[in-house]
Amino acid sequence: MFLDAGKYIFYFLVFPGFIFTLAVGLISVWIDRKVTARVQWRVGPPPGQPLYDILKLLGKETIVPKNSNKTLFLSAPLVGLGSVTIVSVILWLASVYKISFVGDLFVVVYLLMLPSLSLMIGGMASGNPMAATGANREMKLILAYELPFLLCLAIVIIKSGISINMVDLAGNHVMGSISGVLAFLISLLCIQAKLGFTPFDIAEAETEIMEGPYIEYSGVPLALFKITQAMLLFTLPVYLISVFLGGLNFRGLGILWTVLKYVAILVVIIVIKNTNPRLRIDQALKFFWRFLTPAGIVALVLAIIGHISGIDWL
């Protein structure tokens, strides 16, 4: 019993959980900044830069605004951090150790929404009008991307023979069908919005509303938000891999494949980020509701027809 508890604490804090996700997340943030710099023909920051940023923020003064709700303001970053850690543990345990429980897919989807929610709560609690505008935009963005995201998940569930278990999903081959490829592309764009990357960085637009919900944060809470973002940059591609691309595999050449899949998704996200301007919030809503949601519904219908009539490639 105690041994089990120790093992799970290790899972949460060290290996697939906090420290490991943070380490890979910081490397991913560095890759992001370096690739961005190279696209703009600059040299870019040194490899340790994300770590230096976070260490510096941990050492700075934390200011709580007078008009804010102090408890909410300071606890909001912890909500996001905790949820990303749990998602990472669930994904890795399912993919690598084949430990899973019924319905963990839905737990993952709900927990992936919590970082956005924590951002909104923090922004609203800070009592700053810019932060409120940012939180407002984040809320609209959630309403926009959550529906196509869930439609894609429904396609994957149908393709894997109506299973809501991460382990069963990791073994299937969704990408061998039209609806699967469509679902993957739509999910990729939804993940771009979940990460808050251009063209969907409307909530924290630096040039219009001055980083939106983050505007009043300084010191340790800001560092926690930066850590959450870094961990999301690792966790969301891992989610895509384990749902669409056959899961993580660490036996023999599988390591190479897993790393390749991860780096490929990361670079696609970064290239989309660097080649697009920021959309307005109404343009983003139109993009998700008029293009991606109908596309998701078409893919879902194809998947259902394929499932009923037994045609694999639909």
Partner: protein
């Protein structure tokens, strides 16, 4: 040297305050972020709010209207932080020395709020980007 100062030297985030400059220093300041100089090599990043900043970059001599705002921005910045006075006007009022609308150079206005404040002077009209980088290096070495 404590780890806090070490990390601060590795990633100084900069907030740009214009307290009545003629825009010349601002243009030279933006030059630093372009591919030619690329200060992100040293971890320097331009941020949108004083709450995230470690260094305030002030351009222009401080006018009557701008002085209370500059002091408020300094109070909003989490400590430890550094102030850079960029250009002749910010260092010593420059050619506006006798102007009726000038309260004073940047260091005088900042030191009304915090006598212990660290202020770096980078003179020039406008200062060259190389001079600004040298000023930042010297300021970080003095921390």
């Amino acid at each position: 040297m404590s780890w806090k100062i070490w990390a601060l030297k590795k990633s100084p985030w900069v907030f740009h305050v214009n307290t009545g400059a003629c825009n010349n220093c601002d243009i030279e300041l933006l030059e630093l972020l372009t591919p030619r100089f690329d200060v992100e090599r040293f971890g320097i990043k331009l941020v949108g709010t004083p709450r995230h900043a470690d260094a305030l970059v002030v351009t222009g001599g401080v006018t009557r209207q701008a002085a209370p705002r500059l002091q408020e921005i300094y109070r909003q910045t989490p400590k430890p932080c550094v102030v850079f006075a960029i250009g002749s006007c910010a260092c010593s009022k420059g050619i506006f020395k006798k102007g009726y609308h000038m309260i004073g150079p940047v260091d005088k206005v900042i030191k009304e709020v915090d006598p212990e404040a660290i202020v770096m002077y980078i003179p020039g009209c406008p200062p060259k980007p190389e001079a600004m980088i040298l000023g930042v290096v010297k300021a970080l070495a003095a921390l």
